[in-house]
């Protein structure tokens, strides 16, 4: 067995893999020592928290919400059908877009920045209203698309029915 193969068997990947990882760890340690200077615990909590925020907090939340929405639309299908309907997307898409807007701009939307007006001379009270209006517009646009598509579908059905008569 050649040396690289033996290494691979013991390590699980090529020597280049190990070298690359070690270079990145050395760089991370060099920068990390400086990052953690000061409020070490605070930074550690923020760093690890940032890694887990999506995977262990946001993802379960939106997954459960999405499943609930799907269940809602499934039940509406009736006639013994249990397959989820694609119509859930008419709620899912605007909710997603509205959600990411809030996720990014929540400090302003929820008025968490007390010194905002003092610093910038700009009014702090418009963000919530604008976000709500955007959200309303997104759901309204989705409703319009739903109506247009449903009408088209019905017209198609009617035409198909009259054609077979």
């Amino acid at each position: 067995m050649s040396a690289p193969t033996a290494f691979r068997r013991r390590y699980g990947a090529s020597p280049l893999h190990l070298l690359l990882v070690l270079v990145s760890f050395a760089l991370a340690a060099y920068a990390g020592l400086r990052l953690f200077e000061g409020d070490t615990l605070g930074v550690a909590v923020w760093f690890v928290g940032a890694a887990l925020l999506h995977d262990l907090v946001l993802l379960p939340l939106y997954s459960v919400t999405d499943r609930a929405a799907q269940a809602l639309f499934t039940r509406g299908a009736g006639a013994g059908r249990t397959a989820p309907r694609v119509s859930v997307n008419y709620v899912r898409v605007p909710a997603f877009v509205s959600g990411v807007l809030l996720l990014v701009w929540w400090p302003l939307v929820l008025r968490r920045v007390e010194h905002y007006t003092a610093a910038t001379a700009l009014p702090a009270d418009g963000f919530l209203g604008r976000w709500l209006l955007i959200t309303a517009a997104l759901f309204a646009a989705s409703a319009v698309v739903l109506v247009v598509r449903t009408r088209r579908l019905h017209r198609g059905h009617r035409r198909a029915r009259s054609a077979t008569k």
Partner: protein, 475 residues
Amino acid sequence: MGTSGIGRGQADDVPPPKGGGPAKGEGPAKGEGPAKGEGPAKPAAPPTAGPSPKEAAGAGRTPPPGPARPEFWRSPLRGPWLTAVFGLVLLFGITVVFVTGLLSYAAYDPDLAAVNDQTPDKGWLGFYLFPWPTSPYWLYRLTQGVHVTLGIVLVPVLLAKLWSVIPKLFEWPPVRSVSHALERLSLLLLVGGAGFEFVTGILNVQLHYIFPGSFYTLHFYGAWVFIGAFVVHVAFRLPRALRAVRAGPGEPPAGSEEAVGLVSPRPAAPTISRRGALAMVGLGSLALLVVTAGQSIGGWWRQTALLAPHGRDPGSGPNGFQINKTAASVGIRPSDVGPAWRLTVRGQGRQVDLTYGQLLAMAQHESALPIACVEGWSTPDQRWGGVRLTDLAALVGLGVDTPPVLVESVQRGGSFRSAVLGDNQVRDGRSLLAVRVNGAVLSADHGYPARVIVAGAPGVHNTKWVTRLTFGEPA
């Protein structure tokens, strides 16, 4: 076999057991590994060392009920194609965000003087620094607008990427080999670093300073912790991502090698196509772009930035453009800038004190220059009127080959009440100590009685309420 060059043969390339059932899962994953000399099963065995190596390995490979089982994840969307598309978008986007971030760091000219340096312990991390140029005069406006806006626009893509690979977080066994353990540690730096950078950046542009320390320290060093893991991740995964994109959105069967553990073996009925999911994420990014970009473009477009912090104008008229910090917010008192105000010019051991009237009596010049903030917002060109920095240097005999200048504000507290401008910035004919803007006297919030305006410099280097200029090599 389709594995990447560097990562080839690492345990991670072998998919987790198919179907989850021991009998079903054993076959390909365990049987093939050792035969190819890759041995993922062998390094995985020690934690559950038992009498029979085969049984022990088998026990270690049966995931406990819950997210460690591939069939726990039901979405029919997950697969290498979707992950690869998000990954490639992030590869391009984050590279641009990182480079523009490094440029922003350089724009502060931290090596020029201690007052410019927010991270004096940077060591080799400032290896690339260069004197920030004054041309093109809109350079910082562009680079920082791109840095902040693109970072915000990438948020849905980052979330979608994390969503698409969630089964890998719970993969079983958690550690298959030394290389696999190191790679997972690297992934903690990658995901933690990405989250840390996005969160600190997004909070900072909204002035929500709840993070544990100085934004500059956290965001700068955090970026370097992140980028090493980012480069490693790209090196290990890019070949696989390119292959997956070439193969198209029809994902490979669950449990196959090409599925790399992402495809659900028990998919729920689809409610949206993969392209549809991609479009939804794209729509999220587009929405963020629409409600944000206007604060960097300015003019008519500013009103389109419905949720961005600088999406409205603070007033109308000549002084109605964006303010970073108002006079009141940094404690400027009327007496600081009243009749008793003097401009002190120092250099070569000489000193000249000017009253406001004497400053106005000097030769006045005009420059059309923007204000561009590290927070990503900027203004279109404003018409500034004032005295050239070189003319002020001439008062102390430094009119030619003018050296750098330390600019100090009457501002007592807070960061950036002083800054050192490089000789290239001082010598540029557009660099003014401005007393007027757009034909009017400066307002208190824009730095009355006098402020610096320099082509291409970040906003905080355009010091407001200036009271002292010290020409000469900084101490």
